[in-house]
Amino acid sequence: MPEFEAIPDCQPFELTNAAILKAHDVNVYYGEKQALFDVNLEVEKNAVTAFIGPSGCGKTTLLRCFNRMNDVIPICRVEGSITLGGQEIHAPEVDVVALRKNVGMVFQKPNPFPKSIYDNIAYGPRIHGMTKTKAEMDEIVENSLKRAGLWEEVKDRLDKPGTGLSGGQQQRLCIARAIAVEPKIILMDEPCSALDPIATATIEALIEELRERFSIVIVTHSMQQAARISQRTAYFHLGHLVEFASTEQIFTSPEDERTQNYITGRIG
């Protein structure tokens, strides 16, 4: 049975901030097949919430519900209620563009646009009309890159293509691109799975910093990563949310047997 280190920076479960996003009785279907069953979950403000679980358990599906990325999958159907800051995101008056501006996303594989580094960051603020002058835009680009810890590495080559960066740099560029539009929540879908351990460590440190300004939901396959960076952890199994508690509790005294089996490496 693998030993887990103590998790020093893990917040106690009781010290919760207000919930910014609530999912209530969410069921998701892909055609005939049901992918999520009655999921109830709250995403805490200024905290990192990690989704763990074996492959195909529905964690990415739930994540993509939060910014309605599942809309583009024709056979996908979402039932139940998801509220962002108290507003139902499936309401007819909701503009999905405005929703996605507030709920940013970072994908598993770094996917910078095949454009310059500058344009990668500037695209979001530009389409949302967030700036009036070039100087303002320059500032947003610089701040976003600084917050993503990429500024020092790329400040001399902002006009070079973003696709020319290393994998870890590309992923930080994607994070910078996501935070450039000032979202409230950042969804991260296994952001480190394509990266080496050193790049992963950089991204993890970055997530810890970003927590101050944003609420973060991260899907990860690495239990150690969930333990290192998250305050709350949700364990999914075959489409069911099995257990949702503070990270410390999940990793030290899980209530459900399935969670216990998973985190001790007996399954998954």
């Binding site: 910014n67 990325m69 583009v72 024709p74 563009v97 405005a98 929703l99 996605r100 501006k101 940013g104 996303m105 970072v106 994908f107 594989k109 996917n111 910078p112 646009f113 095949p114 695209y123 979001g124 389409i127 949302h128 293509p161 696709t163 994607c174 691109r177 996501a178 450039a180 539009v181």
Partner: protein, 419 residues
């Protein structure tokens, strides 16, 4: 003692031989097709090359001031002057038939050459000028050695007397072979030595321009809508199947459609590049749509997700990211479709672009013909001189095709971006 590990090729192993054999088949196939290509290009080249040169004959022509009105030079009957000049050069042609043969040494259009010279240089009037005029097609063929003088007289297109005169001219150094600029700068003519390809080239360029302007935006927008926006339902699938089937419809059917709709129903003028381009656009449209959809599908979904993830709308995602990435493929597909349209004859026949048109068209509503139709017309002509013109026109067509394909390759390499 461990057992020896055998990593050598086993004796009698058929796998290795099969691989070698398969490679050999491939090389043979490529060699055979390259061989055919070479034979085709060389034979067309050899046959067409003479069309780019033309024999000229110098005639000493008297331009008496009393027969030419200085104010209205164009009205002068230069034909008679040319004929009398020829009679003077060869006084031995006395009978009617001799004279007729004599006149046939030079192009029937020689009088116009003389007229142009005189208009260009009115100082010639009243003098005895030495002017170069085109040899007739038959004389041209003889000078170039394409007519066998040892044949019986009535089996060749040039008589003993004409041969004698041409030999005289040759010894007097009054025969010259020059580069035939007229072939590249002139319109069609009934006389092979006068016929030029420019009218057909311009007609093709106009038609293809119309075709591109109609088919490219229509095709790309159709593809973008079907690929990015349309719901996948029975109607969109039906449209899809029909577009794919349209690509396989024989081109003459599009010609008939153009005849029925553009000419008979809408009443457009026939034989014009406008209608030709519209018919070619109908024909090219399915190709462009299919190629554009394929290149849209080749854009990785991660690009769409990236754009939508930061709140780009569907239209913004499509036109800011997906279409620019698919553009090289769309352009390549379109150019290949256009190259196909360039070589298309059948639909143009149906809408009357097959007429004999001597003028170079000035616009898309002038009557015109197109390169492949011109080739067809010349190949159909009985005059032997058109034989080489036909091959030369094929060379011109091939050059245009090669140019278009090079543009496609250039655009693809230039615009292609990695992701």
């Amino acid at each position: 003692m461990t057992e020896p590990i055998n990593i050598h090729l086993a004796e009698g192993n058929g796998r290795h031989r099969a691989e070698t054999r398969f490679k050999a088949y491939g090389i043979i196939a490529i060699a055979v097709s390259l061989g055919f290509l070479c034979v085709m290009v060389v034979s067309i080249g050899l046959r067409g090359a003479p069309a780019f040169t033309q024999t000229f004959i110098q005639i000493g022509i008297e331009l008496p001031a009393d027969k030419i009105d200085r104010k209205d030079i164009a009205d002068t009957r230069f034909g008679a002057l040319v004929k009398s000049a020829l009679r003077e050069m060869f006084p031995d042609a006395r009978t009617r038939s001799d004279k007729k043969q004599l006149y046939r040494l030079i192009s029937a259009n020689a009088e116009y050459t003389v007229r142009e010279r005189v208009i260009d240089n009115p100082d010639l009037i009243g003098t005895n000028a030495n002017l170069w005029v085109r040899a007739s097609s038959d004389a041209d063929l003889f000078i170039r050695g394409n007519i066998d003088a040892t044949l019986d007289e009535n089996q060749r297109r040039i008589s003993d007397k004409q041969i004698a005169w041409l030999e005289q001219l040759k010894t007097a150094q009054k025969v010259e072979t020059r580069f035939n600029t007229r072939f590249l700068t002139g319109g069609d003519s009934r006389e092979p030595e006068q016929a030029g390809i420019l009218g057909a080239v311009v007609g093709s360029v106009f038609s293809l321009t119309v075709c591109f302007l109609l088919a490219f935006p229509l095709g790309v927008l159709t593809a973008v809508y079907l690929e990015e926006f349309a719901e996948r339902n029975r109607i969109s699938r039906l449209i899809e199947v029909n577009i794919n089937n349209l690509a396989a419809v024989p081109s003459i059917v599009f010609g008939l459609l153009g005849l029925a709709i553009f000419l008979n129903f809408f009443g457009f003028q026939r034989s014009t590049p406008l209608v030709g381009g519209m018919v070619l656009a109908l024909m090219t449209l399915p190709t462009i749509i299919i190629a554009s959809r394929a290149s849209l599908r080749a854009v990785p979904p991660s690009v769409r997700e990236a754009a939508m993830g930061i709140g780009a709308s569907k239209v913004q995602t499509t036109f800011h990211h997906v279409v620019p990435l698919a553009m090289p493929g769309m352009l390549t597909g379109s150019i290949i479709g256009m190259a196909q349209a360039l070589g298309e004859t059948a639909p143009l026949l149906m809408i009357g672009m097959v007429a004999f048109i001597a003028d170079v068209p000035q616009g898309i509503t002038d009557a015109a013909t197109a390169l492949p139709v011109q080739i067809f017309l010349w190949a159909d002509s009985p005059e032997r001189g058109f034989l080489e013109k036909t091959s030369a026109a094929i060379m011109v067509l091939l050059v245009f095709l090669v140019i278009m394909n090079l543009i496609a390759i250039y655009l693809r390499q230039r615009l292609e971006r990695r992701w």
